[in-house]
Subunit: 318 residues, 2 copies
Amino acid sequence: MAVYTDITDEELDALLADYDVGAAVTFKGIAEGVENSNFLLETERGRYILTLYERRVKAGELPYFLDLLTWLADHGFPSARPVADRQGRVLKTVRDKPAAMVEFLTGLSVRRPTVAHCRQAGEGLARLHLAGAGYPARRVNDLGQAAWAPLFAGLGQAAEDLKPGLAATVRADLDHLATAWPRDLPSGTIHADFFPDNVFFRDGRFAAAIDFYFACDDAYAYDLAVALNAWCFESDGSFNLTAGRAMIGGYETHRPLTPAERAALPVLAHGAAMRFFLTRLNDWGSTPAGALVRPKDPLEYERKLAVHRAGLALLADA
Amino acid sequence: MAVYTDITDEELDALLADYDVGAAVTFKGIAEGVENSNFLLETERGRYILTLYERRVKAGELPYFLDLLTWLADHGFPSARPVADRQGRVLKTVRDKPAAMVEFLTGLSVRRPTVAHCRQAGEGLARLHLAGAGYPARRVNDLGQAAWAPLFAGLGQAAEDLKPGLAATVRADLDHLATAWPRDLPSGTIHADFFPDNVFFRDGRFAAAIDFYFACDDAYAYDLAVALNAWCFESDGSFNLTAGRAMIGGYETHRPLTPAERAALPVLAHGAAMRFFLTRLNDWGSTPAGALVRPKDPLEYERKLAVHRAGLALLADA
């Protein structure tokens, strides 16, 4: 949640000269997106978000993400459409960093989703899967199941520091997940980070999704499992079954799950908890003390791991 | 440049229920204001900045600042008018912190002011002085000349750490300023932090000033001296006399300086450099390593001090 790169008025003017959007009227750094610098830009023609891509996003993958946003907007999904310059380019360079401008979306994210929000979010996620179905580009999920054991290899001590005995528990989880992981579920382009702060509502209804920079190819039901973890846990660490059923029900109003997908939800949710536990554990140890970003607490996902380890059998018949 | 406090959707809804502004449409933390948390809030009725006051601003002084903003807007100066709730209150509480909503101002601040910007900024500052002239509330400048020696008392070692020998030089400056400081210049409500990031332009013309949380009573010409330091130095550390003359000329189109004010500008600019050097030196040492705010380099103002020590005689006949 930080602006890393300042842009001068000269740099902004030089950028806007390439576009047909008129002159800038308002330009403010906004606290959105942990990995990139984001600016709210209002010009004579409209409102936009200008993003400068910092550290983690690989420049070579940006066309995949930006073309996906265009594809989704073209196929009726409410995501932020990239704005092309006069030469048709959406990927630009500002201060030697990749940059892109997308249309501004109104809407509010919710911090404490209600059951109704979970149902709406489920609907939105299914619409995203349907709209993205024909997107021709492919991107491997580099944080998918195959990546977890290698990622944990260097983090055993960090897990022990977090909670003595945790390293062995996580290794057992990883073994279980490797064995039980479903391989033949319906797959396609997924969001892979469908958290409440990446979803906008208007009047209580799903309005838009943002931040597609983890999008990739994987099982649709895995995307739903990521969302179940992100939306349906209470602050006391318990899973809210009513919220979970509402999310799945909302999802199924647009895309009914197959029996295999439904049966796989518990192990998918266990794996989805592992994915966020591992990256948070990794960030926890490696974020320098002076960084502008506060790393997220890996213990939140350690607790979710424990819940899934105990088994969420009810999810399968939600 | 940071959002310190998150606001949940429930907290935002509860706040907006007190106002006649309709429901929220967009709500984003913005990277503006080092001391407070600022949010861009768009409702069905308009656009606003919601500020939560953090650390440094004393809650008891907020009515002075907010009433000044209202006064200035009422007297034709383009500053952000505070929005009153249905009971006429502008000062509210959100998550146990003082909070206020002001109207959103369009305009762009400039990072590298041109001579033309300096002239416009000078015009804007004089308009601010004239508009604020009848404001009835008073606030002592707690970072004025009388405060500098006490402030430096604990910072001798920090100055030496910055540059060996600097402590003695600063003490000599402080003695000189105490002796030479003018006491009878025209005074009133000043901005006291009229830096480029606090001034908005539209189409190259002065459009608005923001961030009045250092406003106080002091000499008008001291406010101009603060601005000369902030706007008219080149990045190589030299003072741009053309820019300085333009700023003074712009100022005088609305409020001509008295001979005494003009004669005092060099010592006022020396003192204004001291004020920002001291607070930056203080912040430099006392900002915790993990803080979200990067302290500003005190050396920038140490160099400006050196320029003024050498004498800017020409300023007096600008």
